[in-house]
Symmetry: D2
Subunit: 416 residues, 4 copies
Amino acid sequence: MKSRKVGVWLIGALGSISSMVVAGAAALRRGLAAPTGMVSVLEPFGRLDLAGVDRLVFGGCDIRAGSLRDEAWAFAEKTGALDQRILQQVEEDLLETDRHVGVGTVRNCGDAIRRMASSVDSPRVSVWEEIVRIAEQLRSFKRKTGADIVVVVNLASTEPPLAIDERHLEPDALERSIERNESEAVRASTIYAYAAIREGCPYVNFTPSNGALPPALVRMAEARGVPVMGNDGKTGETLVKSALAPLFVCRNLEVLSWEGFNILGNMDGAVLENSANRESKIKTKDGVLSRILGYTPHSRVRIDYVPSLDDQKTAWDFVHFRGFLGTKMTVQFIWQGYDSLLAAPLVIDLVRFAEFAARNGESGLMPHLASYFKEPLGVDEYRLQQQFEMLLDYARAFSGRKGLDGPSRKSATGVN
Amino acid sequence: MKSRKVGVWLIGALGSISSMVVAGAAALRRGLAAPTGMVSVLEPFGRLDLAGVDRLVFGGCDIRAGSLRDEAWAFAEKTGALDQRILQQVEEDLLETDRHVGVGTVRNCGDAIRRMASSVDSPRVSVWEEIVRIAEQLRSFKRKTGADIVVVVNLASTEPPLAIDERHLEPDALERSIERNESEAVRASTIYAYAAIREGCPYVNFTPSNGALPPALVRMAEARGVPVMGNDGKTGETLVKSALAPLFVCRNLEVLSWEGFNILGNMDGAVLENSANRESKIKTKDGVLSRILGYTPHSRVRIDYVPSLDDQKTAWDFVHFRGFLGTKMTVQFIWQGYDSLLAAPLVIDLVRFAEFAARNGESGLMPHLASYFKEPLGVDEYRLQQQFEMLLDYARAFSGRKGLDGPSRKSATGVN
Amino acid sequence: MKSRKVGVWLIGALGSISSMVVAGAAALRRGLAAPTGMVSVLEPFGRLDLAGVDRLVFGGCDIRAGSLRDEAWAFAEKTGALDQRILQQVEEDLLETDRHVGVGTVRNCGDAIRRMASSVDSPRVSVWEEIVRIAEQLRSFKRKTGADIVVVVNLASTEPPLAIDERHLEPDALERSIERNESEAVRASTIYAYAAIREGCPYVNFTPSNGALPPALVRMAEARGVPVMGNDGKTGETLVKSALAPLFVCRNLEVLSWEGFNILGNMDGAVLENSANRESKIKTKDGVLSRILGYTPHSRVRIDYVPSLDDQKTAWDFVHFRGFLGTKMTVQFIWQGYDSLLAAPLVIDLVRFAEFAARNGESGLMPHLASYFKEPLGVDEYRLQQQFEMLLDYARAFSGRKGLDGPSRKSATGVN
Amino acid sequence: MKSRKVGVWLIGALGSISSMVVAGAAALRRGLAAPTGMVSVLEPFGRLDLAGVDRLVFGGCDIRAGSLRDEAWAFAEKTGALDQRILQQVEEDLLETDRHVGVGTVRNCGDAIRRMASSVDSPRVSVWEEIVRIAEQLRSFKRKTGADIVVVVNLASTEPPLAIDERHLEPDALERSIERNESEAVRASTIYAYAAIREGCPYVNFTPSNGALPPALVRMAEARGVPVMGNDGKTGETLVKSALAPLFVCRNLEVLSWEGFNILGNMDGAVLENSANRESKIKTKDGVLSRILGYTPHSRVRIDYVPSLDDQKTAWDFVHFRGFLGTKMTVQFIWQGYDSLLAAPLVIDLVRFAEFAARNGESGLMPHLASYFKEPLGVDEYRLQQQFEMLLDYARAFSGRKGLDGPSRKSATGVN
C-alpha cells in the first residue's frame, strides 16, 4: 500500500512544527536526510505496510497570514539548527504546500490566540457554519491533491481548557448543542475534530487542547469508523519524565518533590504566557507522575516564555527523593532540544499509523500510540518503556501477514 | 519460612556499606525506619515467603582493623545524612556484629588495597590454605549464630581486573591451578567465592571485581546447588543510565556521545584513584550503553576521588544526540546520592532473594536479579524496566502457591 | 573596645536564621567552630576595633509562640546540616536567649504572616502605642542584659511592599501620619525601625520589606545619630549573580536572558508562596542585573516553595548571551546552600560593623556595607567585588589609628 | 592613527579561531555584524587611538595544508553557530588571506601535532635556519601588504611543556644555545616568538605553550622595544572561574574542592587527547584558584575530546565549599560556548592593544592585558574584575591626551 497517496491536513499549518513536518518529509523523499527521530521506520514496523513518506501531500489551515516557506526559513535562521542547504532544495515542496493552506478559526481560543489572527470570523457565523466551512476545505484538499485519504493533525496553539459537561459526553447531546449554536460549548479544536470525523478523516490531537476529543467526539469516531488519538505530543521534559520516573518505582525510592521549569521562546511559548492557555498544558504534563508513581509527590510544572531561546526548549527538573533510613538525595536533569524538530518526526509517524489504522478498519481511540502523548486518551499506562511495548505488540500482531489481514479492531476505545 | 535464621557474611564488613546494612536492618527490626529503598518489601514479592529482616544476623571479614560501630558513627558524622538517634538505638546490634568479624585476605588486590590492610598474609600461605581459612570462618559464624544458612556478599573494594584464561573456564582446571598454588590465577574475591560455594553458601558479588565469579566458579555453583549472582551493584549513575538510555531507542534518536563524570570521596573512591582498580569499575559501567542502544556511541566514564564529598557520590552525565534533519540536542543529568545508603537496601534485598533461591533448590546464576547489577552475569537485558519485569515475572511464577512449591529451576545459568 | 557588651535584638527571633545566629555565636565563643562565613574576622578588619563575638548577648521578638532552642534542634534534625554535638553544648545559651524574646507585631504584614501569629494585637491598639510597646522591649532588654548598646536586626518574614508616598519622605510627615494613626502608612517593619531609631539603636534590615527604611526613617536616623542599613541580605542566588554578571561587561558579551528559579522549603519559602509577600522579594533580587549590565535583559526571578528542601535553597539560573558574530551561548549555575547558615554569619558581621559605626559617631546609611545587601540603600554599586572593595576602603581609612580616631562621617546617606 | 595599516600574522592560520578572526574582522568592516565580544570597542577605550578594524590585513602560517576559506565554511556547517550569509559576503576577504599563508614548523610539538602536518622539515634544517625562514615570511608579508607594522599572534595547537632551564633565562644564553643548534631547547612556539621579536613585531601568545615566552625572550623583547604578552587566552571555564572564585573570598567561605570537567570536539580537543600536550593546558588553567583564594583546595581540571561537540566547548564545574558551623554547600556551573567565537574577538582586541603599545613606545610584557589570559605573565592578579580595572586604568592614563602622548612605559616586565 506504499502507493496510496495520503493527504496530511495540518491545523496550524504556518507554525514551526508544520514547517518542519513538510520540509522534513520533502528532505526524506529527496534523500537529503536520514529519518532519525521517526519511530515508524524502525525494523519492527517494517511488517506493517505503512504509507511511504514520499506519498504524503500536505496542506492545512491557519489563523495567521503568512507562508510555510517563510516560516521554515525564519526557523532555520533564528535557530541555526538546520543545514540551510536542505531548505534550498525543498523550496518547491514548501511552496506547493503553501497553495493548500486555508483559513482556520479562533472560536473561543482566548485573547492570546485571537490577537494573532489575520481575520476573525463574524460573530454571526454559527458553529455549524464553521464546521461546514472546514469540512469543505478538507474535501477540496482531497480533491485537488488526488489523495486517497486525508489525515488531520492538530498542531495549533494551546487553547484554554474546555469545561466538560453533559453536552460533551454523547454524540447526540453535542449535536443538539451545535444545532442550538451554543458557542461556549465548543472551541476551535472541537470544530476541526467534528469536521474531520464527519468527513471520515483520521484525527490526531497533538496539542493539550481538551476541546478536540471530548467523549462525544470519540464515540462519534467509533460510530463512523474513524480512528482518532491524543492528547499532547510528548517531545521533551515529559518524555524524560516518563522514562525516569519508573526508576523510583523499581528501587522503592520515595519521590518527595519533582519540580520542572521549562523555558522556551517560540510562538507556543508566547501563547503560553497567557495563563488561561497555559493551564491546559500544565494539566497534561502534570498527570504523568501520579500515574507512574502511584502517589502524588509535591510537584510543579512551570512554562515560561524566553524569547531569545526561539525553538530551543530548555527544561530543568529537580527531583528530590528519600532513600534508605530516610536520607534525602537528588537527581536533576537539563533538557535542551528543538521543540519543532522533536515534534515533526512524531507527526509523520502518527500520520502513517493513523492511515494504517483506517485502512485496517479500526475506529475510535488508538491506544497503541500511547507513547506519543503526554495524556494518552483511554490509556492508563504512562511509563514510556511499557507504552513503547504496546506499539511493538501492535506491530507483532500483524507479523507474518499482510497489513490488512491483521486483527481488525472495530473499537479500541477506553473512554471512561 | 519467616522463622528461619539467615546468617549474612559481609566481605568488607568494616566498610560504609556494611555499616549501613547492619544499622539499617537493626533499625527496621526495631521499627525505627521504613524500608524505603528495599525492593523486596513491595507488594508483588509478598507472595514469596522471603526471610524476615528481623531474622538476619550479621558477620563477615575485613582486611582493616576497626569496628563496624565506629564506621557507622563516622559515616553519620561526616555525611550528616543519618538521624543520629537511630544509631544510638542500634548500638547493641552494631557491637554484636563486630564480634563476628574476622580477618580477610588481600591476595592480588593491588597496592591501593594492600596499603590499607592491618596485616598481610605471609607469602608462604598457599591459595588453598587461604580458602580453608575463610571456609572455617564461615562454618564458625554459622555455628556461633545458629543460622540455618549463611549468605555471603562481597562488598570489598574493587580489585584490578583478573585476566580470564583457560584456568577460569572449568571447575577442574581451576581446582588444578589452586592445587599447584598458582597465585596469579586468583584474586581475593576468587578465594572468598570458592570458599562460599564449597560451604554451600549463596554468594553475591556486589563489586565489579571479575575474579569473584569466573565461569569455573559459576559451574561449580551449579554442580553444588548453590545460587550465585553478580557483578557490581547498580546504585547511581549507571542506574539512571539504564532508565534513560532506552528513551533514545523508543524515539529513534541517535546518541552521539554519552560522557559520564563521577566524583566521590569515600574509601571506594580512594581505591579507585588507583588506575588498575578503576579499570574494573569503568568496565562494568561502560557496557550498559552499547547493550541498550545496539551500537556504541562515543562514551567515557570517569571516576575521580574528591575527599570532601565523603559518601555523597555526584555524577554529571552529558548526552549529545542527533534528531530529525540531523539536529544536535542534549540532555544532562546530575545525580547526588549517598552511595552506601543506596547500596545497603539492595544488599538486604539480595540476601533475601538468594536465601529464597537456595531454599527453592535453585543453583548457579540468578538472572531474575539482573536489575540489581551493572553487569548482570548471564543476562543480555540491560534496560532497567525490563530487568525489573524479570523480577516481577519470577515472583508471579510463585503466585497462588507456597514458596517452595514454585518452579524449581535447577540451573539458570547463561555463562557464555 | 572588645570589652563592650553588645545587645543584639532580633526581629523574628524564633526563626531559623536567628537560631543559627545565636547558636553560632555561642559555638564561636566556646571554641566549637571556626568563624567560616564571617567576613568581619578577616585580616583587613583586624584594624577596626570590632566588638568581640563573645560580648554579644541576644534577645528579640517574634509573632509566633515557641522557643529558639527548639527551632535550632528542629533545624538540625530536618536538614542534617549541623553537627548535633555543637547544639548540645550551646543548649544553655539558647535557653538564655529564649528568656529575652518578647511579642512582635503583625500589623499590615499580610494574611500569610498573620496566620502564623500566636496572638494578634487588638485593632484598637494604635500605631503609636505599638511603637511605644516595642521601644519598651528594647529598653528592658538593654537594662536586663546590661548591654552598652543594642543593635536591632530585622529577620522577620517578608512583608508585602509598602506603597511609598508623601508621608514616607520626611520625618515630620511620617510623625504626623502616626499621630493621626494612619495604619495603612506603616507595616510592622516600620514600627520596629521607628522604635529602634527613637531608642538610638542601630538598625539593620536584612529583609526585602521596604517598609523598614523609607526615606523619612533614614533622615530621622541621620538626625538622631543612628546608623542604619538595608535591604535584604545577599546570601545565595543574587550573591552569585552579583559576582558573575560583571563577567559579561568585562567581555562585552550581551546578556539576552537571565532566568532564575529558586526553590526552598523553610518558613521564608512558605510565606513567599503568597504572591503579595513574594513581590517584595523578587523586586530586590531583580534590580541587580540592570544595575550591573547597564541595560535590562529579559529576566525572571521565581521563588517556589518546596517543603522537602527545608532550609536547603536550590537555585537554577540560566543565562543566554550573545557573542561574536551574533552567536548565542549559555552559562547555567545551580546553587545549593543552607539559607539560614549563609545568613547567620552575615548578621553577626553586620551587628559588629553597625556597633562600630555607632561608636564612631556615624549616622544614617552605612554604604560601606553594600556587599551584604541585595538592594543596598543609597548605593549604586551592585558588583560584588567593587562592593567588597568599599568595605576594604572603609577599613583602610582607619589604618594605623585607633578605631574611634577614624574618619567621623556624620552622614553617609544617599537617599534620592 | 586609524589610518595605519596593521598586518596580523596568525600562527595556526588555518585553524578555526583564525578563520573566525578573519571572517569576523571582514564582517565588521562590511557592517554585517556588531562588535559584540570585543572589549576594545567599549567607551573607555575610545580615548585610545586604536587602529581601526578596517585597517587590519591578515596572513600567517600553518603546518597543515588547506584553506582558511574552507575552514570557515566547515566551521559554519558543523556548528550551525554562524549566519551563513555572512560568510557568503566575506568570501573575498577569506580568499585574500589564504594568499598570505605560509608553511609553519612542528619542531618538538609532539606526535599529536606532527601527525597533522602536511610536510615536516628535514631534520637537517637547523633551529637558526627555521628562525630565518619565519622571519622572511614576516618581512615578505609586511612588504606585500604594505602594512606599517605586523603583529604576530600564536593560535597554534598546544605544545607539550618546555622544561625551562638556564638557557631560557637570559637572551645571551638562548642565543648561544641556538647557535649550537640545541634543538631540544626550543619548541615551534619559541622559533616563532624569536623571529617576531627579532623583526620588531609585537607578539601575543594566545596558547598555553610555555615555549613561546620564556624569560630570555621577554628580556630580548624589552631590549629591542617590542611589546609581548601571554599566556593562554581566557575564553571559557577559566573565565567563569576567575569571576566566581573571588565570591568565596568576599564571603570567607572555604572552598574544599573545585572540580572542572571540560569536553570539546574541535582540533584543539583532538590535540589535547594527547597527554603531553594536555599537560600544558591544565597547568595554565589550574593556577587560577590558588592565586585568587590564597590557598589550594582540592582541584582537578579535565579536558576530554568529544568529537560530536565540534567547537562547542562544554564545561561542568562542581564547587564544594564550607560555610558557617562547618556546613558543606555547593555551586555548580555549566558553560556552553563556541570556543573559536569566544577567542576571535579577543584576538582582534589584543592586536589593537599591542599595536598601540608598540606605537606608544612600550616594550616587554603588557600587564594591562592580564584579563585576557589564563596565566598573565608578570601579573599576580588573577581576579577578573581587578584585571579589567587594570585595563581601564591603562586607558584612563591617556585620558584627555593624544594616544602617543601617554605615559611612555619603557618596560612593564615582571619576569621573576
